[in-house]
């Protein structure tokens, strides 16, 4: 084969690879802008606090609830069974295996909707599947799950189920978050260990 032809083929191959590779594969959005915008504008990216309460009560293994607040805020109080991936630490490659998977849905929450929306957009832009935001964040959780009370004479079966769901989630939230710091740390470490075993990591 003519060496000139060989080098040209090689260069062409490199060019094709360069043309289709993102600038930084791990840290640059893989979705096209129009695609990400249309996903962002859809309403199906939200789950309600009542849905999350149901996931907590049923210990649903098809979802992972992700607290995107700081470690300090997470330690102060968090939704039972949630894991902490602070927004500031999102780029840490350690989180990629947790977020970029097809097994479970990622449900992000912050105190309000802002930080969770940032994380949702970044995770979806990076091409991670199954991302959702708990609408209203922890403020909505407090308002609806922790503080809501039924005030009426008669309660329907649907309302009864709704309030029972909230009551059970409220109990779990209070129980976990009332633990002394030492026990809480022990509990979270045990959970992290369990998570790493499920992910196939080592101790």
């Amino acid at each position: 084969m003519d060496p000139r032809l060989k080098y040209s083929t090689l260069l062409l191959g490199v060019g094709v690879i360069l043309a289709f590779l993102p600038f930084d594969a791990a840290q640059t959005f893989r979705l096209k802008s129009g695609e990400l915008l249309s996903k962002s504008a859809a309403d199906n990216m939200y789950v309600s606090v009542d849905q999350v309460a149901r996931f907590v009560n049923s210990e649903d293994s098809t979802v992972q609830i992700i607290d995107v607040r700081s470690a300090e805020q997470f330690k102060a109080c968090n939704i039972p069974s949630s894991i902490n991936i602070p927004f500031d630490d999102l780029q840490n490659p350690l989180w990629e295996a947790t977020l970029n998977q097809k097994k479970v849905k990622n449900i992000f929450y912050g105190n309000g909707d802002q930080t969770a929306s940032y994380v949702w957009t970044i995770a979806t832009g990076l091409g991670y599947p199954n991302n959702f935001v708990m609408k209203g964040g922890l403020n909505e959780w407090f308002k609806t799950v922790m503080l809501s009370q039924y005030s009426g004479d008669k309660i329907t079966a649907t309302e009864n189920a709704l309030f029972e769901n909230r009551l059970n989630a409220r109990k779990a939230f209070t129980q976990i978050n009332s633990l002394p710091d030492s026990l809480k740390t022990k509990f979270f470490n045990a959970k992290r260990l369990m998570q790493s075993k499920l992910d196939g990591g080592c101790n």
């Binding site: 999102l90 909707d113 940032y118 957009t121 407090f142 308002k143 129980q175």
Partner: protein, 145 residues
Amino acid sequence: MVVLLILVVIRISDQGLFKKDVKTAIEATRNNSNLLSPAELRQLKEPWMVVNIGTSDIPDSLQVEHSIKISFENLLDQTDRKILEGVNGSLILYSANVATASKAWIILNQLGFKNVFILNTGGNPEELKYKFQPDTTARLEQDSI
């Protein structure tokens, strides 16, 4: 080499592709430095344009003099994108729904738009308004720890 050059040019000029590292977005949002209050907006010395991407109008009380309305869904349509690119000075996003403005901000930041801010009208959107009261008698069962 020419082919290689052409392919790289195609890649760079594709407006639908994101070119920034997510690190730039994370760093720019640190300490809410991408948020502007109405008072801060009025004190800006450089030119600015408020883009209302929400479904409701900008309240009169905010006294925003120059604004345009572009729906969030159409933000990157050819015509609207040209308008955004042609904004002289800072581009301020407004939506009554903070989630919409936040998503739009990340998308524009990652597309390489500079001086993009969110008009924040209601204090810190990430402030926890409730204080958890621990139940000091609560204990987990030993085997669940």
